[in-house]
């Protein structure tokens, strides 16, 4: 027995951002600051970057770091700092949209599979497990080569590959979240009403799994830039001269001894974005995770 009736449970009132900020975990706050800087740079960067994306002759190639060229000059005489600034939005958009697509596909497959059960569920889940058992990059490369040369180098392909890699993992999570809910009587009622599986998933399962799925989305988004960068580094992502950070690290890696800063620059940016995203999403996951508990009571 509880002496606290539901209506008295501490409900966080719709308070201002300031109050939220004060109560938020410190990881979320630090992450948010780092992310904010990245977003500002990505959005406004093209306006104030000292040089153009592919503008050659910005300085003496491989001249090292200086005040005018903080990340140095690459082999072709392009200003690496300007290129990094120009590339910010590409990395972020690829990571976000890839994860989002993966979330949508994974959630739909997982929730349907968890609701339908039976042989459909068995088949889908064995496929999903098979995909998960293949290492990330190997599967990614497989997908890129399967897509064929006409798509090669397009941002769409990168997004699809990220989604393709994430969807099975999200599907498995969504299924396990669904399994907990399908046994509840309100789902049985919907089944008795003759609702279609899609309608049950949309009306009954999805609203009750949002917290879990959002947490997963947040965490996956944090790692997506690494994936995008890795694909770029291996030459399976964007094509030169796109200022995608992973690609830039790959292009300049031969210069590592001559002008290390041309690799360190984009590397640091990528690292700080990933750290920022991870801190932010980890904090967010903790907040969302708490609402999960409050919801279940």
């Amino acid at each position: 027995m509880t002496t606290v009736t539901p209506s008295q449970a501490p409900v966080t009132p719709p308070s201002g951002l300031a109050r939220f900020w004060r109560r938020a975990p410190s990881s979320l706050r630090v992450g948010a600051i780092i992310l904010a800087i990245h977003v500002v740079v990505a959005v406004t960067g093209p306006l104030w970057a000292p040089y153009g994306v592919a503008q050659m002759g910005a300085g003496i190639p491989l001249s090292g770091a200086s005040l005018a060229h903080p990340f140095g000059i690459d082999q072709l005489g392009r200003d690496v700092f300007s290129r990094v600034v120009h590339g910010g939005h590409i990395v972020m958009l690829l990571a976000l949209s890839g994860t989002l697509l993966g979330l949508v596909i994974g959630a739909v497959i997982g929730l349907l599979s968890g609701y339908l059960r039976g042989w459909i569920d068995e088949v889908i889940m064995r496929l999903v497990e098979a995909m998960i058992s293949i290492p990330f990059l190997v599967l990614g490369l497989l997908a890129v080569s399967a897509a064929g040369p006409e798509l090669s180098g397009s941002p769409l392909l990168v997004i699809m590959v990220v989604a393709f890699l994430y969807a099975p993992r999200i599907a498995r999570l969504a299924r396990s979240a669904a399994l907990e809910i399908v046994t509840k009587d309100f789902v049985t009622i919907a089944r008795l009403r003759g609702e279609s599986p899609w309608s049950v998933v949309r009306r009954e399962l999805l609203p009750n799994t949002t917290s879990v799925l959002l947490v997963e989305f947040a965490v996956r988004t944090g790692y997506a830039p690494v994936l995008v960068g890795s694909l770029g580094f291996l030459g399976f992502g964007m094509r030169p001269p796109t200022p995608e950070w992973g690609l830039m690290i790959s292009e300049n890696r031969t210069l590592l001894l001559a002008s290390p800063v041309t690799v360190l620059g984009p590397g640091l940016m990528l690292a700080s974005l990933v750290v920022g995203l991870n801190l932010f999403t980890e904090g967010l996951a903790r907040i969302l995770g708490r609402t999960v508990q409050i919801g279940q009571r």
């Binding site: 002496t3 009736t5 009587d185 049985t188 089944r191 008795l192 009403r193 003759g194």
Partner: protein, 674 residues
């Protein structure tokens, strides 16, 4: 008077701080003498468990307590943690509400008991602990006490698990046992056995008891004195018999009136209305908003316990004016509806197995056991047919099969004269609409992330093809039909009380304008007072809408009040079926009789029949054989019992003749006995 074992003085417990502070218990005082059984009763949320846990010296970290809780003269509130630890389980022991969660599933029950002995230094060695454990297991009536300690909790039934918990509580021969709703989760028959055990143990060991429950009927059997709590206040304290014969406080009166009566006789008109809203309490008497006798000054003036007789006290300023309240009064009893209508549901020879079968299990040739065997009954338009039996009797399974959730093994179901496809997918949308299901637990049957408007709106849209704008008045009608305000449409389920949630669940079924309502234990997760209100609602709906109901319940008293016809089910076999009044008068089937005898009643003293071992024989022709107190010998094991017609459509399936059954019946309805 000698010094009491426990004296609680001016105790107040508050959760939280500042504006959000919630006073769970306010200025409560009572005593428990040596060897006395004190009962605490009240609705959910009245603070009775919070209060009971104080006697264990347990307090939620967010709670603050003032006042004194004296146990043998020591104040438990002031006691340091190590001293409390020595006390708990040793001098004061707890029997928890839910034995399934109270026992550690990974540890053998004997080890769990021995742990208590070791912690308190009551066993010199492992062997001594084992001997003592066997002794205790025997004392609480567990089978094979020497070996049962090696079992894990999941290998025991719910009743046996509770016996283990009681054995653990008794291990150190405590002075006080705190029982927190120890029988609430159990079957009627199991509950009866546990209460018998507690009465017997108390008589033998002479320990004091604090018995917390929402069920006054149970307290009538076991408590010497009863304290009634409302919203953290003790509103009445009285010796048990006086409390029942002349309750002083209007709330006590309401609680007693809420107990359904088996005699089908008049029900008191003093029903409790509304429910406890702790955020909207007046400054004065907390019960004033729900009280029929309240005067304007009640809401302002604080009520304190005032002695009204030897050992009696009541916190009501109007007690003198109200006098001793007559518990019996005029009211509507069970009404028998005209049941000459067309047949809505015909179930013939229904046989069911439970559960979905996995591919692997099927390959391995495993067949799930049959849980319902050859059950036949029919329900006419506007009629309420009740299926009663203990858990595991297959009542819900039958409802699931009718609803299309479970495939049939044999038999047939006809709905409005037409054969009903067993699989849901093969049924017409109209059939789906006409058969509606209301589940036991409204917490699980309402989508927590959907507002009431959409919970009710979806079936309207689905069945009647209405859009949102035209559905709105329908939603309001539906809410009104279950006596809820239109404002509820905007709420989420967790903003409703248990009773309100069940009303919404019933409303959701009603918007489909069903012909048949399957009510699966719809009252059993509700408080007694809320139960009475929902029961009234169901009765009114039956009258107003003429819907036929399959009412599944283990609670005979509720069935007695609501049903037109009754079927008694044991282990998937129907043993008795007939009109309500006929089922509740002799001749009884032995199992019906056992169920009737098990119902705790506030209105009569306990009568007992000698029990046989409570385990039915496996594989006997009559599934009740072995457990049956009136068994006829070998015949019951070898030959299936025949149906006997007792007139008026009453049929009993037993080897005993009707005359024998009538002669053996001990149980009489209270009204008839008087």
């Amino acid at each position: 008077m000698t010094e009491p074992l426990v004296a609680v003085e001016d105790l107040a417990i508050t959760y939280g701080q500042g504006v959000e502070a919630l006073a769970a218990v306010q200025s409560v005082g009572f005593t428990i003498g040596k060897g006395e059984a004190f009962g605490l009763v009240g609705e959910s949320g009245c603070g009775k468990s919070t209060l009971a846990y104080q006697l264990m010296g347990y307090r939620h970290p967010a709670a603050r307590a003032t006042g004194r809780v004296l146990f043998k003269g020591t104040d438990l509130l002031a006691l340091a943690a190590p001293a409390l630890q020595r006390l708990r389980g040793d001098r004061v022991a707890l029997v928890p509400q839910n034995p399934t969660t109270a026992l550690n599933p990974a540890i053998r029950v004997g080890t769990q008991l021995a742990e208590v002995l070791h912690v308190h230094g009551r066993a010199a060695s492992v062997e001594a602990a084992a001997t003592r454990a066997a002794e205790l297991f025997e004392r609480v009536g567990l089978p094979t006490p020497r070996t049962i300690g090696r079992r894990y909790p999941h290998e025991l039934s719910g009743g046996q698990q509770q016996r283990v918990c009681i054995a653990i509580a008794l291990a150190c021969e405590p002075d006080l046992v705190v029982l927190d709703e120890p029988t609430t989760g159990l079957d009627v028959t199991t509950q009866e056995q546990i209460i018998d055990l507690l009465i017997e143990l108390r008589g033998r060991l002479g320990m004091s008891m604090l018995y917390v429950t929402h069920d006054l009927g149970v307290l009538a059997q076991i408590a010497d004195r009863v304290g009634v709590m409302y919203a953290g206040h003790m509103v009445e304290v009285a010796p048990t018999e006086e409390l029942f014969s002349s309750p002083r406080h209007p709330y006590t009166r309401g609680l007693i009136a809420a107990i359904p009566r088996l005699d089908g006789g008049p029900r008191s008109p003093h029903r409790l209305r509304g429910y406890l809203r702790r955020l909207e309490l007046p400054e004065g008497c907390a019960f004033a908003p729900r009280c029929d006798e309240a005067e304007p000054s009640c809401a302002q003036r604080r009520q304190t316990l005032e002695a009204v007789g030897p050992g009696r006290a009541v916190a009501c300023q109007r007690w003198r004016a109200l006098g001793a309240i007559d518990t019996a009064g005029a009211g509507d009893g069970a009404e028998v509806a005209a049941t000459d209508g067309a047949s809505v549901l015909d179930v013939t020879g229904l046989t069911l197995r439970y559960g979905r079968q996995g591919v692997l299990a099927r390959l391995a040739g495993q067949v799930p056991p049959v849980v319902v065997r050859d059950v036949s009954f029919s329900i006419k338009a506007g009629e309420t047919f009740a299926l009663v039996g203990e858990s595991g009797s297959g009542k819900s399974t039958i409802a699931r099969a009718i609803s299309g959730l479970l495939p049939l093994v044999a038999g047939s179901i006809a709905f409005q004269g037409q054969a009903l496809a067993p699989a849901l997918a093969a049924r017409t949308p109209d059939q789906m609409r006409r058969i509606q299901y209301v589940f036991q637990n409204p917490d699980a049957s309402l989508n927590p992330r959907a507002r009431v408007a959409s919970i009710l709106g979806r079936p309207i849209a689905k069945y009647l093809g209405l859009d949102e704008a035209t559905a709105r008045p329908r939603i309001e009608d539906a809410l009104r039909e279950v006596r809820l305000d239109a404002g509820y449409a905007r709420r989420f389920p967790d903003q409703l009380s248990g009773g309100e949630r069940q009303r919404v669940a019933i409303a959701r079924a009603l918007v489909a304008q069903p012909t048949l309502l399957l009510c699966d234990e719809v009252l059993s997760s509700l408080d007694v007072s809320v139960q009475a209100n929902v029961l009234d609602l169901l009765r009114a709906l039956k009258r107003e809408t003429g819907v036929a109901m399959l009412f599944i319940s283990h609670d005979l008293a509720v069935v007695r009040e609501l049903a037109d016809r009754v079927g008694v089910l044991f282990r998937g076999t129907l043993f008795e079926i007939g009109r309500n009044a006929d089922v509740f008068t002799p001749p009884f089937h032995p199992y019906t009789h056992e169920l009737l005898m098990a119902v705790p009643s506030a209105h009569l003293k306990r009568r007992r029949v000698p029990r046989r071992d409570s385990v039915a024989l496996q594989g006997a022709a009559c599934s009740y054989a072995g457990r049956c107190p009136w068994q006829k010998g070998e015949t019951c094991v070898t030959a299936p019992p025949p149906w006997r017609e007792a007139g008026n459509g009453l049929r009993i399936r037993c080897h005993l003749t009707l005359d024998e059954l009538t002669a053996k019946a001990v149980w009489r309805a209270e009204g008839a006995a008087a």
